[in-house]
Amino acid sequence: MTTAFPPPTPKGAMARILIVEDNEMNRDMLTRRLRRRGYAVLEALDGKGGLAVARAESPDLILMDMSLPDLDGWEATRQLKSAAATRAIPVIALTAHAMSDDRPKALAAGCDDYETKPVELRRLLRKMAALLGHREHGGG
């Protein structure tokens, strides 16, 4: 496998990614794989934790699992997107649900993009890069 992946960080800056995921293995795996590509990764185990980290650390991008305990991903995203401080942070929804209309639902909640689990890393990285690049141009 020699395919070139998109550059991990725009303009050399180290993008900080927040992963909100309750499944330990998925979180660990995604964290390690992103770190391997040069991203700085923050972790949260549930919706409330995710909100707290997002507010405190202002990450460059959030990967949000939708089925979380206590506060689910949709609600957490809604809260993030309704607060001025966190509104600009791009959110990519991650979900394993395939049966219902999760995609439009996630986008309606304010998510900027959507990925189904199991994550196809190549596509996820491309989406992340697009959103991060967009942010660079849009918000500085």
Binding site: M1, T3, N23, M25, N26, M29, L30, R32, R33, R36, A96, H97, A98, M99, S100, D101, R103, P104, T116, K117, P118, V119, E120, L121, R122, R123
Partner: protein, 545 residues
Amino acid sequence: MSIRLKLGLSFLVILALFGLNLGIYLWSGGQRNDSIQHLRQAVERQLRVITIEQELRQRETEAGTSQIFLEAGTSGHPVEMVDSLVERVRELGRTIEEFVDSAVDEGERAAAVAIARQYQRLAELWIDLHGRAKVGADPVPPVARPEEEEASVGPYKVLLGELAKLEESEERRVNEATAYFREVADLTEELSSWIFVLSTLVAVLVALLLSTHLTRALRRLEAGARRLGRGELDHRIEVASRDELGELARAFNEMSHQLQASHAKLEEARAAAEQANEAKSVFLANMSHELRTPMNAILGYTEMLLEEAEDSGAEESVPDLNRILAAGRHLLALINDVLDLSKIEAGKMTLFIETFPVREMIDDVAATLAPLVEKNRNRLVIEVDEDVGKLTADETKVRQTLFNLLSNAAKFTADGTVTVRASSYGTGHRRMLFAVSDTGIGMTPEQTARIFNEFTQADSSTTRKYGGTGLGLSISKKFCQMMGGDVTVESEPGKGTTFLVDLPAVVEEPAAPRAVAIATAVPAPEPAPVNRQPTREERRRASAR
């Protein structure tokens, strides 16, 4: 009452009227005959009385002749003449006796008996007179003459008076009989007319009632049957009579009741089946989630290990890790196929339309499939026309379709070429055509005919040799049909296969959002592209360039 009974009774009523008519006719005939008889008898009696009177006057004249002889004292009647005269006097007596005997009632008899008695006395006088007027008889002393004259004239006058009275009464009888006859004739005529009118009225009434009843009942049945036919199973036909039509209506109602019952049962069964299907769908969704979560970890960690192995130069574990990855992806694909099919079957597959670049999507799919293409030492060629930019469709489903077709092509081809081409055609490039061709084993027409059926591969040995669920093509075709397109196949055994994916360049959103767009007076969307098949030329260009 049954229709047969009704008709029978009607017939009987008419028959009875007919019988009544006949009876009246016969009775009036009898009455007429009686009255005619009566009249005739009365006339006959009258005639007899008149005859008797005439005879009496003649006898009186004859007696007068004998009187003249006696008065003249000349020689009288010859003997024969006298006998004859006497005989005639007696004969009238007999005639009167006969009249008495044949008297029709007591009044007549009494009058006749009086006349007979009177005549008897007169007859004795006349016989004596005639006897004395015989030739050679002793001349009658003239002295006696006035007495004798006196003796016969009195009873004669009385008798005439009696006869006149009788005659009068006979005439009265005749008049009475005539009047009676007229009366009878008038009465029977009138009766006959009335019975005729009545019969006609009754017959018309019966006919009207019967036909109205039958027509109404039939109309009700017809209307009921129509409503039943329209599916109004709760409709009941009014049972208005106890006849065959009523029975028919009852049978209809029974039938609709049964239909309703079985309909309800079916509905119940359908609901149960739907519920079961719903349960199945939910189960599959949950199952899919449960299966995907560990798969997520397996694939993720394997990919990670692979990357680490490549980076750290631990090349010896790369092939094994690649196998794990391939097997894991295969398993995931199977899970996804089963899930997709169950979603399509449950009617829960929805479209998520977005606009995406075609080239990138194809490259992405090709990259994912690279290991499979390389495995059979195949070459993958990608050709995308320059004017092919973006496609507005459900990206995941287009991607999955191309993935299915390409992995099939790679699977069934060895040391050959797998080509994927993308082009647009039609006015304003409204259609998008993907052609996935291989130089593989190909298929017979029989095989291509059933290749899109679920759980079907070209033949059963294919499954053992090449693996797969046989769901991929069926799912792909259904996806494309959902988007207003189709997947078709052209193949020749030994030469290769070409699958054509034909899609609208802009797939319409499902109905609801469009309706909103129209309602808010946003400029109307472009007319839907004609859902036409690519022409032969377009297909040739797409697959053979």
